[in-house]
Subunit: 383 residues, 3 copies
Amino acid sequence: MGEKKFTKRGVDYPIVDGTRTLPGKYYHSREIYQEEVEKIFYKFWIYACRAEEIENVGDYKLIQVEDESIILTRDKEGKIRALFNVCSHRGTQLCTEPSGNFNSGSIQCPYHAWTYNLAGDLIAAPLMKEGDRFNKKACSLPQASVYNWEGFVFINLDENPVPFEEHMEALMGKFSDWKMAELRIAHHIRYDLNCNWKLILQNYQECYHCPGVHPLLSEWTPVQSAQHDAEKGAVIGGFMDLTKERGSMTMDGEAAAPPVCDVSGDDLQRIYYYSIFPNLLLTPHPDFVLFHHITPEGPGKIINDCYWLFRPEVIADPKAKERIKSAVDFWDLTNRQDWQVCEQMQIGTKSKRFTRGYYSGREDILHQLDNEVLKALGHNLAD
Amino acid sequence: MGEKKFTKRGVDYPIVDGTRTLPGKYYHSREIYQEEVEKIFYKFWIYACRAEEIENVGDYKLIQVEDESIILTRDKEGKIRALFNVCSHRGTQLCTEPSGNFNSGSIQCPYHAWTYNLAGDLIAAPLMKEGDRFNKKACSLPQASVYNWEGFVFINLDENPVPFEEHMEALMGKFSDWKMAELRIAHHIRYDLNCNWKLILQNYQECYHCPGVHPLLSEWTPVQSAQHDAEKGAVIGGFMDLTKERGSMTMDGEAAAPPVCDVSGDDLQRIYYYSIFPNLLLTPHPDFVLFHHITPEGPGKIINDCYWLFRPEVIADPKAKERIKSAVDFWDLTNRQDWQVCEQMQIGTKSKRFTRGYYSGREDILHQLDNEVLKALGHNLAD
Amino acid sequence: MGEKKFTKRGVDYPIVDGTRTLPGKYYHSREIYQEEVEKIFYKFWIYACRAEEIENVGDYKLIQVEDESIILTRDKEGKIRALFNVCSHRGTQLCTEPSGNFNSGSIQCPYHAWTYNLAGDLIAAPLMKEGDRFNKKACSLPQASVYNWEGFVFINLDENPVPFEEHMEALMGKFSDWKMAELRIAHHIRYDLNCNWKLILQNYQECYHCPGVHPLLSEWTPVQSAQHDAEKGAVIGGFMDLTKERGSMTMDGEAAAPPVCDVSGDDLQRIYYYSIFPNLLLTPHPDFVLFHHITPEGPGKIINDCYWLFRPEVIADPKAKERIKSAVDFWDLTNRQDWQVCEQMQIGTKSKRFTRGYYSGREDILHQLDNEVLKALGHNLAD
């Protein structure tokens, strides 16, 4: 067998060189992509937005999940609702602006003025009388399930979703020291990328590429320090160690802000990298939280929204501006280094001569990620 | 039952609230669209152009019907011909300019100089000798059938078309007071729209949306005045009443011109809205005629050519210019209001959660329109 | 029978008027195109580049053949290699610049730094240990076969290609007087065309269209002078006679340079037109060589790279610049005349009313070209 172990800080790691990657068609086939939409994006809990983006009653943000447009809004009880953006009358999209506020406390279709309250109930259908064939109750807006985890609003479009706490078990209680619900968006960059959504997850989950692709990142957090502490199911991840005392991922390697809330001990020297399958990449730092929200738009196209979260008092402090910028610049640089290789991998895997590649021992968690996809699709690959 | 009646000017209308719309796939499926092309646009009589656009011998206009390009021209006997724009030699498109005149009295292929007369007969094929495998007669240009109704030139691409008079029975004699053959194009606007062709017909055929979408139109012609007087087959429609004496659909609600030809009596106070299935929307006013020519370019894309017809002497009168503009501005405004909601309906109906919507009693004729489509396709929906 | 003979300079030509062209779907169907890619472009010898474009060790040029990117490079023994541009590790495209030089003498993947020598052997895979599941040998880059004919580098992507000399028999020894390996590229124009690749070959192989489309060409080489001297298999072609003594295909019809190398006798008065199926059109003149490299990009789209080859000493001579330009201008003009009719044929053949066209006696070799395609695809058309 090609297996060995390496010991680092008391942890044994198997090094299995040569497990195989997914076949190339998993990045290019329109049919497989469609299967992923049906069996993953329309079935799994997916990240939608930060609660702060719909802070007040009537605030809304639109989320696109393939053909589905979802209105995330807050009803008059303050409950977050995920309403399908489709009038029950004749199917008109109710709302087109990417975000805003329903000042009237209701949502009116621009076509025939059918009107819904913020909880999705049909409250007016001009000139229509209820009867055998029509009643308002049956015309409420369909809704997706909602779960607010630490200020991250997840939705599930399936009519009978697995409970969030069960599916995301490894997330429950994790990172509570950061009090992420209290953090706020300090910066946002949208990237349009020409690659499959899974390549971004794979790229995020291994640092075998870091020495060549990310010289600066490799200086602040050496590749040898990478460890996993969550290896199963929808939540996988691990951490890397900062070499600098009071360091962080910024252009000069110094912290961008004081430690977040209750972060202490080892966590002051670690950067966590967590994939919350399928569309959220969460990167808690000692002093801020970075995350990527991935929206596929076909087998070879995604939108990647990258956000920097800081404590509100840091954002409010004019002197902190330069330090936040240093964190933004560091990750923007690092992101762009990643996008380039991901896009090249997208192109290369199209070749018929690429059957299945080989994972090194440093990439073994990618095999787990692939298996998560295959399990969801009900596919079985000979290995 | 949810049915009631309302009586208006002696006519009883059933109000059936809650008949169901078409399923969303009828606006999005590439397969259904392809079926529509084959069974509707390649089989039915479709509007092509106004006779005035090819007034003289050799004048031509190209009409695109999905993959088919048709040369509408007038041969030396003055007969309108609808020639397939494809050389019999090796299939080269003969003519590329959207309109013009064959001055030479013939149509020459730019590739190998095969030449046809304006009746479509092959009259020259350089260096080729007739024999067993080749004779000129077999190489005439294929032709579509042609019918000139009141200056509206219809074509039928089917090799054995139903007679126009039979298919368009409800049109025969209708609107003869307008003497539409004598009218001329005063203005033309082309709109590129991102929606299914049927959504435009549906939008045109109901005024349930008018109060919210068209405040000005609703002032000149209140929604309550809408009535149908043709409810079956390829020709359906009705009218609305003008509130103003000597009014019309203009920015100030006043007539744009004197009544057209023999228009008199009730017709002086009515705006007619006729769908001539599948691609012509005809709107006779007392003082002018508006029409829309719809050209689908896929399930979610159409070209909508909108024309304003006036009496030639009105067009020639410099003092009438401002009044014509007022009619153009009114309808351009109204059109754009409609396009927006049609495009939003196109997007919304893509949702899987939109199964089938509900028609109000004011939209019952749309059910008839849907049935016309389903009948042509040979589809049967459980209702 | 519709066959006759005409005799020209002692050669008998059958005139078969009315053999039929390919059906229109051969220019439009995505399925047929995909079959052509698999059975022709991935199986046949195809032209890739001129040897001079990768003259030195480590020089490379990328060639795209549908989904396959091939690195044409010269290894340290000076041997031309055609390496698939795909890292064996995880499928990343190794190289993105269209041409350049691997100065290091090796090719390194930008993602995880796997490194190959110029012969395609994997020479480094950081942190990976060979074992049961991974060995470097199995991870060499896949290669296509290579044949250098007179400086024209052909590749074959099939794993078991027919020998070049066998497949291109009619080319062996042909045109040796031109010593084409010694010629160099004096000019290059890239044309993006909206037509099927076969239309370009068909256009190239008949001069029935010349009188109408190419008045200048027809003056220098009258259409009646066209003869074939290779009519079978992958290499077909013939020649036309120059009317001018010491003439050539230039704007003024005079030679652009002295005769190339050993060209003599009749060849001083001839322009040869050779289709080297499927993607090279070779046009030896007495004084230079023109060729077209055709790259299909779907059923209705190609890139056509046109090159002018001259003797190096002509290119080096400042006084020859104007004459070379005259040859370039002549063919650029002629090319554009051809592209227009080819693009119109692409559009016209989409019509359902175009079933199959007719070839004249002057186009009989196109029937042979069509048969070559049909044979490769294993299709059988009733004729």
